[in-house]
Symmetry: C2
Subunit: 632 residues, 2 copies
């Protein structure tokens, strides 16, 4: 039973599982499953094979339950397999290593036979886990559907490295990083994080939001007790759990009950206690589940723009209809135009002066409407030229103007703005040519051309815009791009909803453009070097690329943008843009990241090139715009 209903949330984070700690000997598994499901848990993390088992020639694998004991759908929907925890593939003991390899392969083969969706494999037992990674990598090559979730303790912990005879503090993210690098970023390898009572810094935790975390295994020991004796979590744990819910991570409750607040006796976990279907014993871990449901239901509903699907899309595919619904955006335009009108025409002149305003790229008329509303609001007279090259949009524009009775105020120009010869010059030039990265849809080139319609003291709305980038961990996105198996897709920027992403440092400015620009030597080529310092307590991380945004000054203090720190709320016209790196780059703790961005202009196209310079140089991406460009 899901933790709750949350409008727009279709992610797995609604589901909550429970870990079965004791081996359900005999045919105990069905009873444990029934009891857990009737107690509102959604699935079990259950051992598949007797943990006492060691490989013996000719022996039958002592499984928890034969495949006939549960139905195929029960196996696949309600059981996540737990691989025996004793296996130790990096032991100095060769026999233990060989036994571990054989057992791991046998258990995975059994789980595949059961059609399980996933198995949890135990945490690496020491800091070097190359042999463990090698065997898992071998297994991953042969898996088609099943996922492997590598269990990793969330806390920075003491290493149990017997090789070096001393304990040292290890950042468990480093384990994960080595493991997945050795396994070539396999798209079937995920993380299951063990959450204990103490937590590392929020910056350190934040890295996981860009990693493929499928489950948070929440230990009962991590809970506190509230005044009424019920389990609850610290504020920091609550924040973390909310973060996981927002990143499609499902929770698994694990451990013995420390809060015996149920009305009936301690529940059944190991399945070997007697209970009957009609008087179900309350599950010992129910209080923890109830607290999870409380946390889940307490969350704010998903904001409008978060509900968009699919994840990867580009703006061209979206319709005018969708754009025009973005009322926040046009309200900002109206405010900017109103301010410009007031600046252009003083109160003394309102009756005598008519302002000439041109909308370049009028589409189906939203900016025409915003302009006229601004004129009405400020009591200024307006003459509007609506320039639009799409003949279909022009048809709609004509009917809109007739319908609204704007004929006297609006002249429709069905023409490409590059070809049009304006009959008079404008006081105000209004456009909405901005892309997610500001200048990525040729706004600079278009407005340079259109400013010949503008009076020397004319105003462009927007009057300037700036792009921003920040380094991110985004393993899912990177794997999606890698699936194309070519370089061109890694040299393309994607307009994309950034869902499972860790933002590693505050965004910085990249390119700025100001309009109008009447200087004699205008170049829209740009070159910017940026250096990012990660917060000291982040630890090391992997950078998959850069998330890009824009902020535009429409006029004076009226701005519009998606840069996270200053973004216009409830605006959904733009997703961020993502500039990938061909190879994810490991950034050691406290090492700066230096990235260079170029905006290049050729005779027929405009494109970006980008390259990492520190901590280590990457190839120049998209050299000569070979993979990704916008045609002029």
């Amino acid at each position: 039973m899901p933790l709750g209903q949350r409008a727009g949330d279709k992610s797995d984070s609604r589901y909550c599982g429970v870990e079965v700690l004791d081996f359900p000997a005999g045919d105990g598994l069905p009873a444990v499953l029934t009891h857990s499901l009737s107690s509102a848990f959604d699935f079990l993390l259950a051992p598949l094979v007797d943990p006492e088992y060691r490989p013996t020639p000719g022996a039958v694998l002592p499984v928890a339950a034969s495949d006939l004991v549960l139905s195929p759908s029960q196996w696949s929907s309600h059981i996540v397999g737990k691989i025996s925890e004793w296996i130790d593939l990096d032991s100095e003991d060769e026999q233990l290593r060989l036994d571990s390899e054989l057992t791991l392969k046998q258990e995975i083969a059994w789980a595949t036979h059961l059609s399980l969706q996933a198995c949890v494999i135990p945490p690496p037992k020491r800091s070097t886990c190359a042999n463990y990674a090698r065997v898992v990598n071998n297994i991953l090559q042969g898996l088609t559907n099943m996922q492997l979730w590598l269990r990793i303790p969330l806390e920075k912990s003491e290493s149990m490295d017997e090789d070096r005879g001393k304990s040292e503090t290890v950042d468990s993210w480093e384990w994960w990083n080595s493991f997945r690098l050795l396994c070539e970023h396999s798209s079937q390898l995920y993380v299951a994080l063990d959450i204990l009572s103490s937590l590392p810094s929020m910056n350190s935790l934040g890295r996981w939001f860009g990693e493929p975390v499928r489950a948070a295994i929440l230990q009962t020991d991590a809970f506190l007790t509230n005044a009424r004796g019920y389990p609850c979590l610290s504020k920091r744990h609550q924040t973390l759990l909310t973060g996981f819910f927002n990143h499609s991570v499902q929770v698994i409750i694990s451990g013995r009950s420390n809060h015996n607040v149920s009305q009936v006796s301690e529940g059944v976990l190991s399945g070997d206690e007697n209970h009957t279907e009609d008087t179900p014993t309350r599950h010992a871990l129910s209080p923890y589940l109830e607290y999870m449901a409380y946390l889940y239901q307490r969350m704010d509903p998903l904001p409008e723009q978060e509900r968009f699907e699919p994840l990867m899309d580009n703006l061209e595919a979206q319709t005018y209809e969708t754009f025009e619904k973005d009322t926040v955006k046009y309200t900002q335009y109206q405010r900017a135009i109103a301010k410009a009108l007031v600046d252009k025409v003083s109160e003394d002149e309102v009756s005598t002066t008519r302002t000439v305003l041109m909308v370049v790229g009028a589409g189906r008329g939203p900016l025409v409407r915003a302009s006229l509303q601004a004129a009405e609001e400020t009591g200024r007279k307006l003459k509007v030229y609506a320039v639009e090259k799409n003949p279909n949009a022009v048809i709609t524009l004509h009917s809109l103007i007739k319908l609204e009775g704007w004929e006297s105020m609006v002249t429709i120009i069905s023409s490409d703005m590059r070809c049009w010869d304006a009959p008079e010059k404008a006081d105000i030039l209004v456009s909405e040519l901005l892309g997610s990265f500001g200048d990525n849809e040729l706004s600079p080139e278009c407005l340079d051309g259109a400013q010949r319609f503008l009076k020397p003291d004319g105003i462009s709305i927007p009057s300037s815009y700036t792009s921003f980038v920040q380094p991110v961990t985004a393993s899912k996105l990177h794997n999606d791009i890698k699936a194309h198996k070519d370089i061109a897709h890694f040299e393309t920027a994607y307009v994309v909803k950034l869902h499972r992403v860790a933002r590693l440092a505050p965004p910085q400015e990249v390119f700025s453009f100001t309009h109008p620009n009447f200087s004699p030597k205008v170049s829209n080529q740009r070159y910017t070097k940026l250096q990012f310092e990660l917060p000291q307590d982040t630890g090391s991380c992997l950078v998959h690329g850069f998330a890009g945004y824009f902020d535009a000054v429409l006029y004076k203090d009226v701005h519009l943008g998606i840069e996270p720190n200053t973004c216009t709320p409830n605006m959904f016209s733009w997703f961020p843009i993502f500039f990938p790196l061909r190879k994810p780059i490991y950034v050691p703790s406290e090492s700066p990241i230096e990235v260079h961005f170029w905006r290049c202009c050729g005779a027929t196209k405009v494109w970006y090139e980008w390259a990492l310079v520190a901590p280590s140089p990457s190839p120049i991406h998209n050299s000569n715009g070979r993979s990704y460009w916008v045609g002029l």
Copy 2:
């Protein structure tokens, strides 16, 4: 005119060029060329465009000489273009940056028009050279035949980084490394090293032997003066130059003459002095060229095994004929067999005891011959079984035995050793199943099978063997592999002559096998972790993979092998083996390199997997033997 004749040397290092320092204004270039060629230089490094030139709209490029002034073959064979040295693509001055980009592209376009083989581009002017690299990378995408040689000062030098306002010592290799990483290891990008009077440590210099160095530009300032007033080089310079000669690097003499030892006056470099064809002036730099010729001619002739071609080949392609010519190898076998015979049969028993010796894999008989010679040499009686599965080789074997009159001593068994049922057990089992990496051609598996023919106290020759690896810089090899554009070729080990390779640390042992091995539980799987510490004065480097070797104990103190420190001299049967890394790994100065090697055995095949663990983990290479294996 080449520096000299050296048997077997077909490399470019025979040729010596001279740098033209002053711009040959007017039509001076032909005169300079004629004078230099008649002075025994082979080519010029010459400016193509007036260094005073800055881009001006509509201006004609002020070239040194029109394409008609020299013949096409003179341009392509005798001129290396020198790109204007003022260009500075990473200046803070945007105009200088843009002028530099335009000029660089114009000069390269001109050089392409002239069909030059190569151009030297000036050294980066500051430590960050990302924009320079970007423009060069753009150019490289469009070049088909011409090479670009990036000029790099060999000495660790003061950085002129104006950005940071302070000077810092920079390892010039780091410049090169950043540059080529940004340029994606382009196979048309090379290095031209400027050699000055002071040199960094030999370990630091050694890195360059694995890099694509095409020219050593030797400054006249780097020369000393000998007792007779002639130019000469320090011992360290001599060693370096010999190293370059051995790695196909050609020398270019550069600078003003500091040794005016010629009988006539200072020669012509700038081409604007008067001289006539019939009374040629001695070239001012002739004394330096003569010293180069002396150094070149003084070198030892190339050893036999260095003359083999092609570079990449595998042993299967070589014939029995070639193998049998390796007399050193069979002499070692004979010595080992002789020692074993003496140990087996004491002087008292020589007349009564006949030793049974089996040659498994007898081929056309070289080990049969070695065995019989050992018997004769030691006065021991011998019965030889020669087992060979190749029926063609068996035919030759029969005629050999008839020819030599060995019928009474040798029994030929035309059979696969795995199927043969021996009529008696052997005292000595002799085989030559070793590959370049020792166990890489199934010697362990074959000898495990063949040892059933051996008496419990029998001797196997070889009695043990060990493989070795060492990290190397090998940019040429890596680029050759990359040309295949797939992962499989990067997960394959190559038997290859390691010509342009920098060996970064002494080889270490990987896997060992001992024969016979009568223990009940024999496994030929192996797993070894190795850690390499580079000499402290090496600096940082790039590792492209691992060079592999073997050493075999044939019997007691008689060994055979190609491990560089202990290799058997003048043996040419084996080239080294090379295990590539999919991505070259940057190893910061003083960081250890940790690599893991697995020898894996399946039901039908044997293969290696390998992975780098430090300084950063690589993917596991050749998982499940998917790309490279030997079938059982």
